[in-house]
Subunit: 593 residues, 2 copies
C-alpha cells in the first residue's frame, strides 16, 4: 500500500481498516454499494477503489439513522465515525472484522439509479457498458484490470530502465508509409492539401534512433491502423516498442525473455522458467499455426505416407495432387456420438473455415473400427493409420485434406477447437515460447510474385546469404532472423534483426524486383540515413493490450482498455467519430465528397 | 550503470574501461569520432552513447595500422584489443587513463562525411540538424538531454506510483470539443464524413475516471493543438496529466510540490525546499505577470499616488483616465548612457510590445537628478518619486504608463529584459513557486462579456460562492481554486479544483449566460455523467517538454524532443506533412478544396 492515502477529506480508504483500528475515529469517502435497513440498524457498504467498509447507524441515532437508510445506490458520501469490531464478521472482506459506527454523514453527491449492476458480475450488455463506461469502470473487476495493466507496464519499465534502455518519445505526426495497413491521416491547416500520417508503429523512427547511437531504446506507445474490424482489434493500440544496437538475434531473445519472466514473476507471481524456442517450420507442420498453443498436445499427423494406396476419393486426390491429409488423434474420444461428430463436421465446413469434409475413425476397445468412410478402407489400411498415428484403443482420429497450407491451417484450428470442447486447458497454466526462423520471403499464391514475409529490412540467416546470389535458388527457403513470442496461442511480440549492410539490402531489393525508382520512393529516406553509419541492430514490439488481456483473463482487449472503441470503431461514450463544422474542414483545405 | 551492457558483439561499452581493466582483452563497438595518424601510431577515438575510448595501432602492425588510420569519421567499428595504461592520460575523459591496443578490426559500416560536426558544439544550423536529426542526435549533448528526459519521467512515475496513482491510457481518437484551441481531426473511413478529434488534453476523460472511482490517475500523454505557431510551441506535446478524488486544493499543491521536489532531488541533485505560494493578484501587481521570475527582485512600483500633481502629459493622462504608471528601480544603473536608454526605449516601443514611451530618472551620487522629462518635473516631484520607490543614489528609475493591464504587462516584460541585460540571474539557480487564486471569470475587453478565465468547470473559492447569487456583485472578483506552478518564469503546471456540485455549476452557467441548449450541446455529456455520483476532485497537468527544457538548460523545447517539428509544423527529416494519394482521400470520404 502506498505512502499516504489520507487527504483533507478522508483519514482512511475503504480498504484499510482492521481490528487494530478499533476505537479510532475515522473519516471515509466513497460510493454506496448497498443499503440494508434491518429495523434497529441501518447498514451501508461504502466502496472505493481500495475496498469496501460497512458503515452502521442504530435507530437510536434518529435523524442520522434515517438519513443513512434512505441513501441510494452510488450516492457519494463522507462518513465520520468510530471503528468497532463487528458482531458477525465477513471473512470474505479484508475489512470484514470491523464496521464504522457513523457519527457524521455528509452527502457529497446524489446519484441516479445506474443502468446496470455495479459489481464484478453485471447485467449490463457490452454496448451499454461502453456507453456508460464511467460506471462500468466502477466495477472492481474492471478497476483491477486497469491496475494490473499499470503494474505490468511498471514492471516492464523497471526491467528495461535497469538495462539502460532509454525511453524516447517518437512523434505521432509522421509521414505516410508505403508498407503495411492503411494509415490514418490528419489534414494540416498550415499546409493545406498536405496530411500527416499517424504511425502504424515507430519502426523507422526507432531504427533511426539506432543510427543516432541511442543504443537501447524503448517506448510504450500508441499505434494506429485503419483496418476493417475483424476479430479483436482497435484502431488505436499500445505497443511496447524496443530496439537495440550491436546485437544478434540471441541478445534480443534473451533480453526480452528476461523481461517477460520479470513481469510474470513481479506482477503475476508466476515463475515461467526459460522460454522454449520452436522453429516456424515445426510450429506449422506439427501444430498447424505459427502461434501454436502448447498448453495441450494434440499434434497434427501428416497422413499421406500412410495413405499411399487409399481409395477414399478426397484422400486419393490429396495424395495424387500435392495435397495434404492431416489427422489429429483425440485420446479417449472413440465414444463420440454421431451428433458430436456431425457438429464437428459442420464446424470445419463452416464458410470461414471451408473444409470439404471431416473424416473420422473410432478405435473401439472391443477391437472394432468405425470410420466415416468404411467402404473405402480395408481393415489393414485402418490398422496402418492407427499404427502410423500411434492411436490407442478408445481413441478417435479426425482427418481433413486440402492443399498443404490450408490443410495445416484447418488442422491447427481444429486442434484448438478440440481442446476447447474437451477442456484440455488447465486454467492458470501458461505456454510461452519463441517461434523463430520465419521465412524471409513468401510467394503470392495467385500471382506467384515474391514478397517480403514481413518487411524488406529483415536480415536473412547468414547461412543462407549465398541463396540470394543463386538465380535458381528457391527463395522461400531463406530463413529470416525474425521471431515472435507466442503466449497461450496468441502472438504477443514480434521482431527481427534489421539489415544494416547495403550489399545485402541491395540483393534483397533485386530479388524482390524493385526498380531503383521504387526503392527510392518507398525506402530512400531510410537508405540514405544508413549511409551515414548504421550499427547492426534488432528489435521487437509487444502488443501490450493483448498481453494484459491474457494476464487479466479478459475475453477481449476492450476489457483492459479504459475507453475502447466498439467493433465498428465508434466510441459509444463520447459518440465519436462525429460530424465536424464545415468551417473546420475549410480551414484544413478539405471538403466532404 | 546497468546490469549488463555486454552483447554478442561487444564485451564493454566505450564508457566503462578503467585502469582496473588493464590487461584484459575486450571488444568495443561504436562510431569513429576522430582519427589521428602520428606516424608511428594511429589513434581512433571510438564513441558510443556511454562514452569515448581511445583505440591505438602501431606502425609495426602493418595492415591493421593502415586500416585504422584510413578510417573516416562516423564509420562504425568493432574492435578487439588489449586494455593498456596510457602514456599521456586525458583527465577530461572517464576512460582517459587507458587505451585499447587493437588486435582485430571489423568495419561494420562505412559512413559518408556528415554535413555538420558531431560534437556538443556544432556548426550545423538548426534546419540542417533537423533534416539530419539521426546525426544531430549523435551529439553527446543531445543524447544527454534525451536521457535526462527519460530520467525525469522515471522519477515522476516512481513518485506517483508510490502514492497509488494508476497510470491509465486514454484514447487519442476522441470527439471534437467546443472549448479551447483548434482540434486536429482524423477522417474516419468506416464512417465516411465523420471525424475523430485528437485530444488537446484528456481533461474530460480524466474527470470521468474520477467519476469511475479510479481515485488517483496519471498519464504521461501526447496532446495536440492546431495553433498558429508562436513562440516555442509544437503541434504535439507531452503532458504529465494527473487527477485525484476526495481532495482539496491543499492536497493537490502538497502532492505535486512533493513530486517536483522528488524529481529535482533525484535527477538534478537540487534540493528545492518548500515551494512558496503567491496570489495571482500579487504576481500581477508586483511583477507584472502571472508567471513571475523571482530569481531576481526588481518589483514594479505603481506610481499614480506619487504623481497626483504631475504635469507630464502621459502620466497626467494615466492618473486622470484610469491609467497606471508603473516604475522599476534598477539599482546602480544611474550611469546608463543615452544609447542604452534609447535602446531600452526602442525595445518597449517595438510593435509587439507597443509602449508609448519610456520615462527615466537617474539619481546621481552628486545629488543631481536627470530625467527624460525634466521640464515637466519640479525637484520636489522627483524627490517624491525617489522616496516613494525607495530609490537610492546611483539608481535608475524607468517608468511607463498605459491602461492598467497593459502597463503591468509592459512592466513585467521590461523587468525580465532588464534582468537579462544586467545578468541578474545566477546560472543554476531555481525559482519555483505556485501562483494561486486566479480569477474565475474574465471580461472581454471589447464586448464586456463575462467568460470563464479557464473553463467553466473550475470551482470558485467557497468564501465567494455567495457572490454567484448576488446580481450586483463584480464577478471578476470571484477567485478560482486554480493554480499554476511557475519555474524560472515559465509556467510548467496548471490545474484546478473541478466543480462536482450541480447547484454551483448551474449558477456559473447562469452567470455566463448559457442557455439550456448551449449547455447541453457543449457540456451535456459531462453533466450527465456527473448525475451518477461525482466525487469532489481536482488535478493538474505539467508541460513535460518545457520542464525538461528548463532542467536541461536547452534554448527551445525542440532541444528535448527527439524528432520535433520546425516552426511551421513541418518534420524536416520525414518531410511531413505531405501529399496523399487521392484514393486514400476518397476512401475516407473527403477531397481537397
Amino acid at each position: 500500500m502506498a505512502l499516504n492515502m489520507q487527504t483533507t477529506l478522508r483519514t482512511h480508504t475503504c480498504g484499510e481498516l482492521r481490528l487494530a483500528n478499533v476505537g479510532q475515529t475515522v473519516t471515509l469517502t466513497g460510493w454506496v454499494q448497498t443499503v440494508r435497513d434491518l429495523g434497529k440498524f441501518a447498514f451501508v457498504d461504502l466502496r472505493d477503489r481500495y475496498g469496501r467498509t460497512q458503515v452502521v447507524a442504530t435507530i437510536e441515532q434518529g435523524e442520522l439513522y434515517d438519513q443513512l437508510r434512505k441513501l441510494g445506490r452510488e450516492y457519494v458520501l463522507r462518513v465520520t465515525g468510530t471503528v468497532a469490531e463487528r458482531e458477525s464478521k465477513n471473512a470474505k472482506l479484508p475489512t470484514g472484522d470491523i464496521e464504522v459506527r457513523v457519527q457524521q454523514l455528509e452527502l457529497l453527491s446524489p446519484a441516479k439509479v445506474p443502468p446496470f449492476m455495479i459489481d464484478d458480475e453485471t447485467d449490463g450488455l457490452e454496448e451499454t457498458r461502453l456507453t456508460y463506461r464511467y460506471l462500468d469502470l466502477r466495477r472492481p473487476v474492471m478497476q483491477q484490470r486497469l491496475m494490473l495493466r499499470a503494474k505490468m507496464v511498471r514492471a516492464v519499465r523497471e526491467y528495461l530502465d535497469d538495462l539502460a534502455f532509454v525511453e524516447v518519445e517518437t512523434p505521432t505526426f509522421i509521414k505516410s508509409t508505403p508498407e503495411g495497413a492503411r494509415d490514418f491521416i490528419v489534414p494540416s491547416r498550415l499546409h493545406p492539401g498536405s496530411f500527416y500520417a499517424l504511425p502504424q508503429s515507430p519502426q523507422i523512427l526507432k531504427q533511426l534512433l539506432m543510427v543516432a547511437g541511442m543504443d537501447r531504446y524503448y517506448q510504450i506507445v500508441k499505434c494506429y491502423r485503419d483496418e476493417d474490424f475483424r476479430g479483436d482489434r482497435q484502431p488505436e493500440f499500445t505497443q511496447i516498442d524496443c530496439e537495440m544496437s550491436f546485437v544478434t538475434q540471441e541478445d534480443i531473445l534473451s533480453t526480452f525473455e528476461g523481461m517477460v519472466r520479470h513481469v510474470f514473476e513481479q506482477v503475476l507471481e508466476v515463475k515461467l522458467g526459460s522460454i522454449p524456442r520452436m522453429s516456424y517450420q515445426e510450429a506449422v507442420t506439427r501444430y498447424g499455426s505459427d502461434k501454436p498453443d502448447l498448453r495441450f498436445d494434440l499434434p497434427l499427423h501428416e497422413l499421406n505416407a500412410a495413405l499411399a494406396q487409399t481409395q477414399f476419393p478426397p484422400f486419393r486426390e490429396a495424395v495424387d495432387a500435392n495435397g495434404l491429409v492431416i489427422g489429429i488423434v483425440l485420446p479417449g474420444a472413440a465414444g463420440y456420438t454421431r451428433k458430436q461428430l456431425d457438429e464437428l463436421t459442420d464446424w470445419v465446413k463452416a464458410p470461414q473455415r471451408g473444409a470439404k469434409g471431416l473424416f473420422y475413425l473410432r478405435k473401439q476397445a472391443d477391437g472394432n473400427w468405425k470410420s466415416s468412410a468404411d467402404k473405402f478402407f480395408t481393415p489393414e489400411e485402418l490398422a496402418e493409420l492407427a499404427r502410423y498415428t500411434g492411436m490407442k484403443d478408445e481413441d478417435l482420429l479426425l482427418a481433413i485434406s486440402d492443399r498443404p497450407s490450408k490443410a495445416r491451417k484447418l488442422g491447427g484450428e481444429l486442434r484448438n477447437e478440440l481442446a476447447r470442447r474437451e477442456n484440455l486447458i488447465q486454467p492458470g497454466t501458461w505456454d510461452v515460447r519463441w517461434i523463430i526462423d520465419f521465412p524471409l520471403f513468401e510467394r503470392d499464391e495467385e500471382t506467384g510474385a515474391l514478397n517480403p514475409a514481413h518487411h524488406p529490412f529483415v536480415m536473412p540467416h547468414e547461412a543462407e546469404w549465398h541463396l540470394l546470389d543463386d538465380p535458381n535458388a528457391d527463395l522461400t527457403q531463406v530463413r529470416a532472423l525474425c521471431y515472435d513470442m507466442v503466449m497461450n496461442g496468441s502472438e504477443v511480440c514480434s521482431g527481427s534483426v534489421r539489415i544494416h549492410r547495403k550489399d545485402i539490402q541491395e540483393k534483397i531489393f533485386a530479388r524482390l524486383g524493385l526498380s531503383e525508382e521504387e526503392k527510392q520512393e518507398k525506402f530512400g529516406f531510410l537508405l540514405r540515413a544508413f549511409e551515414y553509419g548504421a550499427p547492426p541492430h534488432a528489435g521487437c514490439a509487444f502488443g501490450l493490450d493483448r498481453w494484459v488481456m491474457l494476464a487479466a483473463g479478459g475475453e477481449t482487449i476492450r476489457d483492459v482498455i479504459a475507453y475502447p472503441k466498439n467493433s465498428s470503431g465508434r466510441d459509444m461514450m463520447l459518440d465519436a467519430p462525429s460530424l465536424v463544422n464545415p468551417d473546420a474542414l475549410r480551414e484544413v483545405g478539405i471538403k466532404l465528397l
